[in-house]
């Protein structure tokens, strides 16, 4: 990859992207799988690939593909169910590392983030030095690799990181943007999905360079006024967006697609309990309390409804989330409707430290919350699900799918 030796004049934006994140974390945990195709994805006949190592991608496996199809392409792959709690923990450490470098960190998901390092130069050197520093620290501390794009704008930085994958680093200085950008296919541009790409290809516009040399009005007639203007600007490397530090989470939750549609309220209740426990665990690890609980129910015909209720007092206790989620579900008065998916969300989050907490009369000081905190500690030592409500224990063979 050329460019990595150039200095980074005019570059203030980093895009850091973990390589095959979930799969890499799994390989770290199972070192014997290193160098082999590994797929993280849901079990059962509706599971989809959420992450795959580069060894698996070589066979054509990619995210969002049904696991069954991935296994036809790459029968030797090891399929793992995924451990979101672990990925979230690794993600938090990585994001914390970024925030130690600059306060202006905008995470896009668990495994990628934009960093604005314009204020960090004096302390840590230029953007290139910072990018190298991040790559070596992520590798040393987390045992996984990442790719970093360095540029003067967010979208070029993101394209640069994609271009350098895996385990790469690419700097695109402002004078080099056109040379980097114009040979790229139009589909690489932010905002160009399969539909827009079709339209552009039909106009004979294959590369970003082709796009750049079409009058803006022509482009606007083809894809609409706003999108046309946007694409024209991007094709000349103009992206006015700034890295915006993330706001605290507004909500967190979990949902589960049943492997076959379910009409038994007991099964739904049990799933709501599992999702509530998981959501509460996330609240506790993030130090948040939820003021509102909502549930989502998707029926067999994909019709989807949500219901929410505000709690008398904010909570991070799984049992309380469940009591509310279950009450919301029961209030739907479903008569054995066939359900495809249920979800539980904790909303209107407040920081545990800053939130006043309404106490309850006559509640033992060491109540349900302490029990759940103890379960959290057990989970950190012995793995997720080490301690869980009795109703969620099933014969080992039954093992419910995890996303």
């Amino acid at each position: 990859m050329g460019g990595s030796t150039a200095r980074a004049a005019g570059c203030t934006v980093l895009h850091v992207d973990m390589d095959a994140f979930f799969a890499s974390v799994e390989v770290r945990r199972h070192p014997e799988l290193a160098g082999t195709p590994v797929i993280v994805g849901g079990h059962g006949n509706r599971g989809v690939v959420t992450s795959a190592t580069y060894e698996a991608r070589r066979y054509g496996v990619h995210s969002a593909m049904p696991v069954s199809r991935a296994l036809r392409l790459c029968p030797t792959a090891t399929v793992l169910p995924g451990d979101l709690a672990l990925y979230e923990e690794v993600s938090r450490s990585v994001m914390a590392l970024f925030r130690s470098i600059t306060p202006v960190v905008q995470p896009l998901s668990l495994d990628e983030a934009f960093l604005d390092v314009s204020g960090s130069g004096r302390r840590l050197g230029d953007a290139l030095a910072i990018a190298e520093h991040i790559r070596s620290r992520v590798h040393d501390e987390q045992g996984i690799t990442c790719s970093v794009g360095v540029a003067g704008s967010m979208f070029v930085a993101k394209l640069a990181s994609t271009h350098s994958k895996p385990d790469g680093l690419l700097v695109v200085r402002p004078p080099e943007v056109m040379a980097f950008l114009h040979p790229l296919p139009v589909g690489a541009l932010w905002g160009v999905g399969p539909k827009t790409e079709d339209v552009l290809l039909r106009l004979g516009l294959r590369t970003v360079g082709d796009l750049a040399h079409v009058p803006a009005q022509t482009l606007q007639r083809a894809v609409g006024a706003a999108a046309g203007r946007h694409l024209h600007e991007l094709s000349w490397g103009r992206d006015p967006r700034r890295v915006v530090p993330d706001e605290p989470d507004r909500s967190t939750g979990a949902e589960e697609t049943f492997s076959t549609d379910v009409d038994d309220p007991q099964v739904v209740h049990r799933e709501l309990l599992r999702l509530s426990e998981r959501t509460a665990g996330r609240l506790r690890s993030a130090g948040h309390l939820a003021r509102t609980v909502s549930i989502k129910v998707r029926f067999a015909d994909f019709h989807t409804i949500t219901r929410s209720r505000t709690l008398a007092a904010p909570t991070d206790v799984g049992q309380e989330l469940y009591d509310t989620a279950r009450a919301l579900y029961d209030a739907l008065g479903l008569d054995r409707a066939r359900i495809r998916l249920v979800g539980v969300r904790a909303e209107r989050l407040v920081d545990e430290g800053s939130a006043a907490q309404q106490l309850e009369l006559g509640v033992r000081e060491h109540g349900r919350r302490d029990a759940e905190l103890a379960a959290d500690r057990a989970a950190r030592r012995f793995g997720a699900g080490a301690v869980r409500p009795g109703t969620l224990i099933r014969p080992a063979a039954g093992g419910g799918g995890r996303p």
């Binding site: 008398a312 006043a356 009369l361 006559g362």
Partner: protein, 385 residues
């Protein structure tokens, strides 16, 4: 059925009965009000399998008989009629209402499909109607409104010979009130759980006579029912079949500090400061000898308010947080000019009670009968930081 009645009298009776009609009746006939004329008495009744209401008025009857008419419509019509005598006649399957120049003809519902109202259980005792209304009002505010926990939506009614104790809690506050009554049989003991909203509503509207008779059938004699009879009006409600919390164990037996508050001034201050307390944020009360400082709000994107109020305070300075609604509900219920708040710690329940005015020892009149104790426990809010 044919009778004549003053518009006011009819409208009151119908309106009172109509309150207990179900908003969404499970069977159509339950949306009806039963008019039943016997001699010169008209009874107006409604029932939704949980609550029954029956009021009686004197009428000039020409013919006796019964008719079941759509209740809400009847209530709206009688309320809107001009102030003239009303004549009501049942004509086949319709009911005609005439008043001055206005005439209505309503379809009736099938009388034979209407369930019979539960019979009034045997009388358990008698209580002064205003005292009963006050006591129920003071306690019912602490009851929960969330139907998922039926136990919390009720008022516990305990009878111990000539003393009745009412208690209700929604987990965050607990209100307890005792009052004296005259039991039908000496030594009577009983404990039941009554739906709070129904009880509060009934007690408030049964004050036209001096006394209310409480009737009880529980456990052994069929389904648990509480009957309340005042002047010309009687209502029954099904009892809740749930265990109530052992609230006496929650009551703190001692306190480490207490404040004596001027209720009016303290309430006004708390209301003002609470204006900036967004939903779920507490009112912070800093008690020091002679003063309480009320604070609310505080973070950068909220308003802030602070007000001092003179109080008597005995004990170590204490900062304690309350849900402002819970505090104001209690202050509004003590019904005395001064109130006392007892504290154990900032995380333990505070107990609000009324302070009886001191009597001039030389006053000629005998001290009135002690009206009975009222205590309102509030669980505090753990303040951040």
């Amino acid at each position: 059925m044919k009778f004549r009645v003053a518009r006011e009298v009819l409208a009151d009776a119908v309106a009172w009965t109509a309150r207990s009609l179900p908003p969404r009746p499970s069977v159509p006939v339950l949306a009806g009000i039963m008019l039943d004329v016997e001699g010169n008495t008209l009874s107006v009744s409604g029932f939704d399998y949980e609550v029954s209401a029956r009021s009686e008025v004197d009428v000039h009857a020409t013919d006796g008989g019964r008719a079941l008419v759509p209740g809400r419509l009847l209530a709206e019509i009688t309320r809107a009629l001009p102030p003239h005598p009303v004549e009501i006649v049942a004509e086949g399957s319709r009911l005609s209402i005439s008043c001055s120049n206005a005439r209505f003809s309503l379809p009736t519902l099938p009388v034979e499909d209407y369930p019979s109202l539960p019979s009034m259980p045997s009388a358990a005792g008698v209580v002064e109607s205003d005292a009963f209304a006050e006591a129920v009002g003071q306690v019912a505010i602490a009851a929960g409104r969330d139907d998922t926990l039926p136990m919390l939506t009720g008022v516990r009614l305990e009878i111990e010979d000539d003393l009745v104790t009412l208690a209700a809690t929604d987990r965050y506050r607990l209100a307890v009130r005792e009052f004296a009554w005259r039991p039908e049989t000496p030594g009577l003991t009983a404990a039941v759980l009554v739906p709070a909203r129904t009880l509060a509503d009934a007690a408030k509207t049964l004050t036209s006579g001096p006394e209310v008779v409480l009737s009880l059938s529980s456990g052994t004699s069929g389904e648990g029912i509480l009957g309340l009879s005042g002047k010309d009006r009687q209502t029954t409600t099904r009892l809740l079949d749930a265990e109530f919390v052992k609230y006496r164990a929650i009551m703190p037996s001692s306190s480490t500090s207490f404040a004596t508050l001027p209720v009016g001034m303290f309430t006004d201050a708390a209301k003002r400061v609470a204006l900036v307390a967004e939903r779920g944020t507490p009112l912070r009360c800093e008690f020091t000898p002679g003063t309480v400082t009320l604070k609310a709000g505080g973070s950068d994107d909220e308003g802030q308010a602070e007000e001092r109020c003179d109080v008597e305070f005995d004990g170590d300075p204490l900062t304690i947080g309350f849900n402002p609604t819970f505090l104001l509900d209690g202050l509004a219920a003590v019904h005395t000019e001064r109130a006392r708040m007892d504290f154990t710690s900032a995380l333990k329940p505070a107990v609000l009670s009324g302070v009886e005015p001191e009597r001039d020892p030389d006053a000629a009149e005998k001290p009135a009968v002690r009206p009975g104790s009222y205590r309102y426990l509030i669980m505090p809010v753990r303040l951040p930081g």
